[in-house]
């Protein structure tokens, strides 16, 4: 009995109680925040926002995967990736409006065109710089990005105007106890999940995927093992471009207004999402993108003037994650080798 009272009074237990109080306060604070968000506009509004956030996040995921794979293999921030996404949206626009193609042929065509474009870009612009300092390749990527944006903005290419995108199917909206789900959301989620499963199969269950992982791990050794490293890099660019093309079509279907500069902001957000999840990590890119989409939509829904401040919050999340975990959520800590 005495030992219990003594141990209760000891500084060790008291301090532990303080620590637990802090933990509980933090937990209650987070819970209170979520509850306050729910109560602010009602649970329906909250769930609707979460759902819209997930929809945006799935589109971001398609772009982010291209960034993360390319970075994982050649350590290049491919700034032109957002413009590949734009080209995908425009290709499907022409296929749908001018040639009356359906959704599936259009998305396949967009993916094919993007793959072709990205492989050509890789061969022309990045391959000669394989052994150059990394900054040279980065500047080249910026140059390619400018070129794609301004070249396609010429009058006889895509023109610099905002174009209204025609959806290849009728929009159907289901009302489930107040939560609105349109067939756009369903299509986005199904397409994205399908593409992600295919990607996962390619990366983890095929010879090419094995070669990709080996190249990402150690390029010179991979070459010594008889892997065609240049081919693997081209294949990675192609894979990323295919996903970005599909992402462009889905983005244009969800937000039906396209312009040649539309790739900049989603591209940047997706890239940030890839970094957030730990760059070079496919799972991380997916989770980071969902988080990014949620932050985007939740800020717009709940913060006053949120639609004007959404980019600020998106990057604030990035910086906070960096401060807590400098290599992203799923990133492995950088090892300093001497």
């Amino acid at each position: 009995m005495t030992s219990i009272t003594r141990s209760l009074a000891s500084p060790k237990v008291l301090l532990r109680a303080v620590a637990w109080a802090v933990y509980i306060a933090l937990g209650v604070g987070i819970l209170w925040g979520v509850v306050a968000l729910v109560r602010l506009q009602g649970p329906v509004f909250f769930l609707q926002a979460v759902l819209d956030g997930l929809r945006l996040g799935f589109v971001y995921a398609l772009i982010a995967l291209g960034y993360t794979m390319v970075y994982g293999i050649v350590r290049l921030i491919n700034f032109a990736h957002g413009d590949i996404f734009m080209v995908g949206a425009f290709t499907s626009f022409y296929a749908i409006t001018q040639y009356k193609w359906g959704f599936f042929p259009a998305i396949l065509l967009a993916m094919f065109v993007c793959v072709l474009l990205n492989v050509v870009i890789e061969r022309v612009a990045y391959k000669p710089l394989r052994n150059a300092p990394r900054i040279a390749a980065l500047i080249t990527a910026i140059g390619v990005s400018f070129f794609l944006e301004y070249f396609t903005a010429l009058k006889w290419v895509f023109s610099a105007d905002y174009i209204t995108y025609q959806r290849p199917f009728k929009v159907v909206v289901w009302n489930i106890k107040g939560i609105l789900i349109s067939n756009i959301t369903v299509i986005i989620v199904i397409t994205t999940v399908l593409l992600l499963l295919i990607l996962r199969y390619i990366v983890y269950n095929t010879r090419m995927g094995k070669a990709m992982r080996a190249t990402a791990l150690d390029k010179p050794t991979a070459r010594l093992m008889g892997i065609n490293v240049d081919g693997v890099i081209s294949f990675t660019f192609a894979l990323g471009a295919a996903l970005a093309g599909a992402g462009g079509v889905l983005y244009a279907i969800a937000f039906p207004q396209i312009v040649t500069f539309m790739g900049i902001m989603p591209g940047l957000k997706a890239f940030v999402a890839a970094v957030l999840g730990g760059i070079g990590n496919i799972m991380g890119a997916f989770v980071g993108s969902l988080l990014m989409g949620m932050v985007d939509v939740l800020v717009v829904s709940f913060v006053p003037m949120g639609s004007r401040l959404r980019d600020l919050f998106a990057f604030l999340v990035l910086i906070i994650v960096f401060l807590v975990k400098p290599t992203g959520i799923f990133g492995e800590p950088e090892v300093e080798k001497v």
Partner: protein, 443 residues
């Protein structure tokens, strides 16, 4: 060893600078160049200052920063607020904004000083030692972080109080100064103070941003600073919610167009001298050692974090100075001037000129600005849209043909480090050195 006689390296450098300065000033006075090209020359000087700052951060210290444009924007808006306030008295007093900005900066510095004096690191270590028996490391971290935050908040409160008092004093003093000084002189003084303020504001902000972010790895730091630049851009678009006269996305108008070629060129010369002397000092050499190999530098006793912060702060100062000049060059500021695409300009300039070469940066900044503006003139009618199609092709060709930039890391004239006179170093007798290990083996 006798040194050969040669011309001191500063003479040709000063000559080139003088020819450039007098040439532009003379051509303008004679009407040989239009006001437009006169402005372009000033813009080139502004770009050169900003790029020098980035070259200090990336070229000399090796910290890959994509957020330079954010500091440029802070300098531009910060200095424009002061001069606009002087002209239109939107804060009620011609020097209201100036005294506020100065007072807040000094208050912040005071707060840092107080927080530094508190020795938070030592306190934290003491707490950790005292609590290490009772608690887990994570819990100690949380508790000590809370204590440190409270102490830091106290320091900030002291700074805020001090800055409020200082503001009251400054309004009085500066108001008197404005009353007694003739107007043309006062305008120049205000411009000088505004430019200085733009620089110090940007420097202070870059110190604050750099403090937590500089410990990230190279690419992660670049991305975080890119995030900072985008945040800055968004904040500027909504700046009218805080300061109505900044006008947010509509663009800030009514800034006096006081920047002239002497101002722009003078600021460039000032930046070049500061930068050159900084880079050639022992601190500068330590900075370069951080770029070459951080771990090796650490092993040699270089305070890596301090030097990174130093370089980042100086770079921010130059960016802010350039921003202030830019604001008073065109008299109109819009957030889209400071968007990400424009933010790549200084990076492109320093890579084009050669990372770690001041001469290269200066040449590249002038070439870059004149090429971008020259394309407007050269391209025939109906091909204006092609400007930004041709420019990336240039960029690609340069990167494919010359990856180390125009000058690499080499310098010209006065920028080159003066070589110390050759010393007679006693050479040990090689034969003895060679024989020794053999002798050891035998025994």
């Amino acid at each position: 060893m006798r040194r050969k006689f040669s011309i001191p390296s500063w003479i040709p450098t000063v000559l080139v600078a003088a020819i450039l300065y007098i040439g532009v000033a003379y051509a303008r006075a004679q009407g040989k160049i239009s006001p437009y090209w006169y402005q372009v020359a000033q813009l080139a000087a502004v770009m050169a200052i900003s790029s020098l700052g980035l070259n200090l951060i990336y070229g000399f210290n090796g910290q890959f920063s994509l957020g330079h444009i954010g500091f440029y924007a802070v300098g531009a808006y910060g200095s424009a607020l002061i001069t606009k306030d002087y002209l239109t008295k939107w804060s009620g007093n011609p020097v209201g904004a100036l005294s506020w900005i100065v007072a807040v900066q000094i208050g912040l510095l005071l707060a840092f000083f107080v927080i530094g004096r508190m020795r938070l690191g030592a306190l934290r270590r003491k707490m950790r030692d005292a609590l290490s028996e009772a608690l887990k490391p994570g819990e100690i971290g949380i508790i000590s972080a809370i204590v440190l935050l409270i102490l830091a908040a106290a320091g900030l409160a002291i700074g805020a109080g001090a800055s409020y008092g200082l503001h009251l004093l400054l309004v009085q003093g500066l108001g008197r100064l404005v009353a007694i000084t003739p107007k043309p002189v006062m305008e120049q003084v205000i411009l000088f103070l505004a430019l200085l303020n733009g620089g110090t504001m940007a420097a202070l902000l870059s110190y604050l941003v750099g403090l937590p972010l500089l410990r990230l790895g190279s690419d992660y730091f670049g991305i975080a600073t890119l995030g900072f630049a985008v945040m800055m851009y968004t904040a500027l678009q909504n700046s009218d919610m805080v300061i109505p006269t900044m006008k947010g996305a509509r663009g800030m108008v009514g800034i006096p167009r006081w920047t002239s070629w002497p101002w722009a060129f003078g600021a460039l010369v000032f930046s070049v001298i500061v930068m050159r002397n900084l880079v050639r000092s022992s601190h500068g050499r330590a900075m370069i050692s951080v770029r070459e190999d951080e771990i090796a530098a650490k092993t040699m006793g270089v305070d890596v974090n301090q030097l990174k912060t130093l370089a980042f702060t100086f770079g921010g100062f130059f960016a802010g100075l350039a921003g202030g000049l830019y604001a008073h060059l065109y008299g109109f500021l819009h957030p889209s001037t400071f968007n990400m695409v424009k933010g790549f300009d200084p990076l492109i300039i320093i890579v084009f000129g050669g990372l770690g070469s001041m001469t290269g940066t200066l040449v590249a900044a002038f070439l870059f600005t004149f090429i971008i503006e020259g394309l407007r003139v050269i391209l025939p009618q109906g091909f204006e849209d092609w400007r930004f199609v041709i420019y990336p092709i240039f960029l690609l060709l340069i990167m494919l043909l010359r990856q180390q930039g125009l000058l690499g890391t080499s310098e010209w004239g006065w920028f080159r480090a003066p070589l110390p006179p050759a010393r007679e170093i006693p050479v040990p007798d090689r034969t003895v050195v060679r024989q020794q290990p053999a002798a050891e083996k035998e025994s």
